[in-house]
Amino acid sequence: MAGGAGPQPDQTTATLARPAIAEAEERVSLASNWQLIWWRFKKHRLALASCAVLAVFYTIVLVPDLFSTQSPEATDARLAFMPIQRITLLDGWRWRPSVAAVEGRRNPVTLRMEWQIDETKRVPVRFFARGYRYTVLGLIETDLHLLGAATAHERVYLLGTDRLGRDQWSRLMHGTRTSMTVGLAAVVLSVILGSLLGGISGYLGGWPDLVIQRLIELLQSLPTIPIWLAMTAALPQDWPPQKVFFAITIILAFIGWTTLGREVRGRFLALREEEFVLAAELAGCSRFRIITRHLLPAVMSHIIATTTLAIPVMIVSETALSYLGLGIRPPAISWGVLLQEAQNIQTIADAPWLLIPGVFVIVAVLAFNLAGDGLRDAADPYGH
């Protein structure tokens, strides 16, 4: 007999537990596919945390200026290679946010500025400070910033400055906007292309399938990085940043859609054999209706998971291309453009904070991968 305890107290729990189980079972059987996915996804704590990180990133994408402390373009050659000013929120027990002061002295021999951090001297900072003016999404004009120096004549360099004395923190915020958008846009484009062609290929079969499959094979056997480089090198030098941005997005999507197309095709092929499609066909549904109402919802969760896993690939590609000088070009700012500042080993040794944009890349890619894995597991609990 299981459990040697007296029957009396156990009985009450048993009678209480039974309807609860029945209720839970009913809840599960009535839940829609999306609800089921959400319940399973909630169990992946790392994936949930990753979603929070991504939410922060995309908030920055919406209003990078709010998070910037200074204009990302403002240069001051006298303030080149300033080190990181660490922020502290408390002074003893009192709320007094401040950063350490930085003293500059020009080395008489090398004529270079040498910066000394003085932790004892504090530069007070405040949240929601006033700064340079900007517009939020082109609509509202404001000069509010999340963080800024408390007094107008002081400036804060949270992540130091680059060789032109530009504030790296503010540039990073703007770089985040570009890099995260390129990744997303390229993937959205890939998804549209991939789902369309993959879906047609998988559902129709026959010669469209043959043609699309050969095209995918051809594109997939191209050496990705060199071809990307050659394509971006072919972009005219005098194009404005926006145009380059769109071109890069299209170039990234051009090869990226094939993986997705394959996946969608595979799913469609498997689904075509499913009973419910046959049932829909017998019920006289049109092809369009079968695709949009029956097949698409069934593959949607997988598409979303695959998409999430494809974004980081795009982000890394953009970063690498820009780093090599063939992607996003200055004056536009992206993570890759920022990392270009760290090309020289001597520069990195002198100003290691120039590598920090790389940390952003890694965190973003990690978050996308973890969230994507969680989504995939939630969408397909029986393995891939």
Binding site: L218, Q220, S221, L222, P223, T224, I225, P226, I227, L229, A230, M231, A233, A234, P236, P312, V316, T319, A320, Y323, L324, G325, L326, L339, A342, Q343, I345, I348, A349, P352, L355, G358, V361, I362, V365, L366, N369, L370, G383, H384
Partner: protein
């Protein structure tokens, strides 16, 4: 099996033809041609530009011909093993590429061996000890490994080596061997330098392969044939290594098809950052300076290596998996 391979081999020239067209169009695409850059270069260096001389050069390189004639000329030259002349280096492209090709392929192969030598044992350990401490550590390493762009890793390692140990870990050879002809001593010198780029280039692939190996093996470990082998009285380690590992590795062989090419072309970025003798940086410079036949030649080499990598993977897969080999 034979039919399958013949099919693949027949496809080979067709693919190369399509690629050559794509590559030609790509290197032709930038506005202007290398002559314009050549002229501006000459002008910048102060030499006068003779119009007649420009016309002569144009004719010499066939730039006055329509596009398809140019392509055919290019192809015809390639057939004779002539990839044209490099503007920037003023040397035959074949010679330039040839100099860098061997180190490029060597680096890719080293990274490949490194990846498999690390990923397979790690994947086996993770799968046979799921949820163990080491499994978690490996999972974390894998996620970070996949998430770190390899040029980032190269930069960080170079920085650590430089600031901590004061050494510069760029290049594949010590100064005295850079120009030396191949010899045992040069090869040994290569081994002393290649390990860091090899790791940098292989980390992401290793991480990915470990995860695939773990997942595949976990799937296989619950299969009835494993239970049957266990019921036969086979010891656990022999059993795992003989059956499920063997089955789990099979699909990994098909990953060689994309992994080897990825190593070839992926080394481009690492090689640029770490200043390695590699056709990657050569391509980068050629693209920027519009040295189009050099760029075209290198791109073709990449395409060729990619197709060869896929072919190797197909052959290997058919060779080791009886289900594919015997299929009629």
């Amino acid at each position: 099996m034979l039919r399958f391979l013949v099919q693949r081999l027949l496809l080979f020239p067709l693919l190369l033809f399509v690629f050559s067209v794509v590559v030609f169009l790509l290197v032709q695409a930038p506005p202007g041609d290398f002559l314009t850059s050549y002229i501006s270069m000459l002008a910048a260096s102060g030499s006068s530009v003779d119009l007649a001389q420009v016309e002569a050069l144009k004719r010499q390189f066939g730039l006055d011909q329509p596009l398809h004639i140019q392509y055919l000329r290019w192809m015809d030259n390639i057939r004779h093993g002539d990839l044209g002349l490099s503007l920037e280096y003023q040397r035959p492209n074949v010679e330039l590429i040839g100099e860098f090709l061997l180190p490029t392929v060597l680096l890719a192969l080293f990274s490949f061996v490194f990846t498999w030598a690390v990923a397979i044992p790690a994947g086996i350990y993770s799968a046979t000890h799921p949820r163990s401490f080491v499994d978690y550590i490996l999972a974390i390493l894998n996620y970070v490994g996949v998430a770190t762009p390899n040029f980032m890793l190269a930069l960080v390692l170079m920085w650590i080596a430089f600031s901590r140990f004061g050494i510069s870990v760029t290049g594949l050879f010590s100064p005295e061997y850079v120009q030396a002809p191949w010899s045992l001593a040069r090869f040994v010198d290569l081994l002393k330098h290649i390990w860091l780029p090899m790791i940098v280039l292989g980390v992401a692939g290793t991480a990915r392969l470990t995860r695939i190996m773990r997942a595949n093996l976990l799937d296989e470990l619950n299969k009835p044939y494993v239970v049957a082998a266990r019921a036969r009285g086979l010891s656990e380690w022999r059993l795992v290594l003989k059956y499920p590992v063997r089955v789990a590795i099979n699909p990994l062989v098909s990953t060689i098809g994309w992994y080897l090419p990825q190593l070839f072309s992926g080394s481009l970025i690492v090689a640029t950052v770490m200043n390695l003798p590699n056709i990657g940086p050569l391509l980068l410079r050629a693209l920027i300076s519009q040295d189009m036949y050099l760029a075209g030649g290198i791109l073709l080499i990449y395409c060729f290596l990619t197709v060869v990598g896929t072919l190797i993977s197909d052959v290997l897969l058919a060779w080791i998996d009886p289900r594919i080999r015997i299929e009629e």
